[in-house]
């Protein structure tokens, strides 16, 4: 009964579970993708799978920025940081992600100046505090973090702070969904849409998924009840043969998103013609690059970047897992060569990666709401 007491409205959770069982047509198999890594983590943590009938399957999507970053980008970023008087700053999530010759943390152990920051604004502060050094912020993330990087670059430019740059790896979620829908081995019935990305981009950018691709999208919160309600909303639409975008997370997500954040992104970034995603390959117009007006603060325009391309370790099947073709435990390395302590692939590094979530919660299975309420 470890978690059950902590849940808000357990009776509503039980009801949502019942409603899902009632709505799911036993003659049909439903494949629903939760796009966001935060949802993947929550689904595993709360054991929500146990509340679903066996014909409602959750497929874990590409929404973990650490997991989709190809190793070549890490190698490129770290190769720049080998210059003298150089500080490599990145979020803590990046620190254990393996590059070809080690993770940022291992580079730090070898003497490189690698710093963890919790905000791009703090990387800028490092630059202010270390005028004799160059500070490069290794930026990752979807639209939840991209506006903060944009605003930080606007501040750097306004201050004329020249010893600061950003190595930009920001990606956008919509083209990744398009790539997944275009993938021939992927048959999905609908999407649980990302909650916090949508606070920035709003709900409108998903409309083509409903209108053109005919799949419903429910933008969802992160509580167990939110996710279950979103599945109820999806099944209702699927039962009626509808495909609409609905906002389950209205208490946080405005339909139009955050205009100030979108303005900051538009001021600083433009779309790259294409960008490599781990597991998904090259996706056109799926990532952000820094505009020429900010070239001085763009590490890629300012320094010579090797442009390393590394194929993932052959035995690791990150790509198939990322696309939902394989389950984490079906990868040959899962739980043996590749563990959260010694990750081979990035999906094992971040708590939002489906492999780490599967390892932490399926191997050491905690008492979940389903098993607890059954007691």
């Amino acid at each position: 009964m470890k978690y059950v007491d902590e849940f808000r409205a357990p009776e509503l959770i039980a009801k949502a579970g019942e409603e899902i069982r009632r709505l799911a047509d036993p003659n049909r198999h439903y494949r629903i993708m939760e796009v966001c890594g935060g949802h993947t983590h929550a689904i595993y943590r709360f054991g929500l799978k146990d509340l679903l009938p066996s014909n409602v399957e959750l497929i874990h999507g590409p929404g973990c920025p650490v997991c989709v970053l190809p190793m070549g980008r890490i190698d490129d970023g770290l190769s720049l940081a080998a210059q003298p008087d150089f500080i490599f700053a990145a979020f803590g999530d990046m620190m254990r992600v393996p590059g070809t010759h080690g993770s940022p943390l291992e580079y730090k152990a070898r003497g490189m100046d690698v710093r963890i920051v919790y905000s791009p604004a703090d990387a800028l502060k490092l630059a202010r505090n270390n005028p004799e050094k160059h500070v490069m912020f290794f930026a990752i993330g979807f639209e939840t973090t991209a506006p903060s990087t944009a605003l930080t670059l606007m501040r750097a430019k306004a201050e004329g702070l020249r010893n600061f740059s950003v190595f930009c790896n920001h990606v956008t979620i919509i083209p990744a969904i398009r790539a997944i829908l275009d993938s021939p081995d992927m048959c999905l019935d609908g999407f649980v849409g990302p909650g916090h990305v949508s606070t920035v981009i709003g709900c409108r950018p998903y409309e083509w998924i409903a209108q053109d691709a005919g799949r419903p999208v429910i933008v969802s919160g992160f509580e167990p009840l939110d996710i279950l309600q979103s599945i109820v909303m999806l099944l209702r639409q699927l039962g009626k043969g509808e495909a609409k975008v609905e906002n389950q997370y209205k208490r946080v997500v405005p339909w139009e998103g955050n205009r100030a954040a979108l303005r900051a992104m538009a001021e600083v970034f433009e779309l790259r013609p294409y960008f490599e995603w781990r597991g998904l390959g090259s996706i056109s117009q799926s990532a952000l690059k820094i505009r020429a007006e900010y070239a001085e603060w763009d590490a890629e325009q300012r320094f010579s970047v090797p442009g390393v391309r590394v194929t993932d370790p052959k035995a690791a099947q990150c790509g198939e897992v990322l696309k939902g073709v394989l389950k984490p435990a079906q990868c040959k390395l899962f739980g043996r060569e590749c563990t959260p302590e010694q990750p081979v692939g990035a999906l094992m590094v971040s708590s939002e990666g489906s492999c780490a979530a599967h390892y932490n919660y399926e191997h050491r299975k905690p008492v979940t709401i389903a098993s607890a309420t059954a007691i």
């Binding site: 978690y3 902590e6 849940f7 808000r8 966001c36 890594g37 935060g38 983590h41 929550a42 943590r45 709360f46 973990c64 920025p65 650490v66 979020f91 803590g92 999530d93 963890i116 920051v117 919790y118 905000s119 791009p120 604004a121 703090d122 502060k125 490092l126 505090n129 990752i140 993330g141 939840t144 973090t145 506006p147 903060s148 605003l151 909650g195 916090h196 606070t199 920035v200 992160f222 509580e223 167990p224 208490r251 946080v252 405005p254 955050n258 205009r259 100030a260 954040a261 900051a264 708590s351 939002e352």
Partner: protein, 102 residues
């Protein structure tokens, strides 16, 4: 990084409209309000914070729910650690209220 951390605005900076001090579970740090400039928050408002930037205004009840969700996800400690790290400050400076202006 992807955590949305709920915090209460406990001090606005009269020198810089883009800065506010927020309180997250007793830890007070400065965050950037620049992404909320279309509807600037006031003292006492609750906001969701991503990587040191307030991203949306939320109700107090939703803020408390969000903290509870983080707790249930086992992420509450990571969230507080993230907030502690804002401004490159160390843990020893906790509980001391807003740091002096630069």
């Amino acid at each position: 990084m992807c955590l949305a951390i709920p915090g209460k605005i406990v001090e606005l900076d009269s020198q810089n409209v883009n800065h506010a001090v927020i309180d997250v579970a007793g830890v007070r740090r400065r965050v950037d309000l620049g992404l909320l400039q279309d509807e600037p928050p006031v003292l006492g408002d609750w906001v969701l914070i991503h990587v040191g930037f307030a991203m949306s205004k939320i109700s107090e009840a939703d803020a408390l729910d969000q903290m509870q969700t983080l707790r249930m996800l086992g992420e509450a400690e990571a969230a507080v650690q993230e907030v502690r790290g804002y401004g490159l400050e160390s843990e020893e400076q906790d509980q001391s209220g807003p740091r002096p202006k630069q």
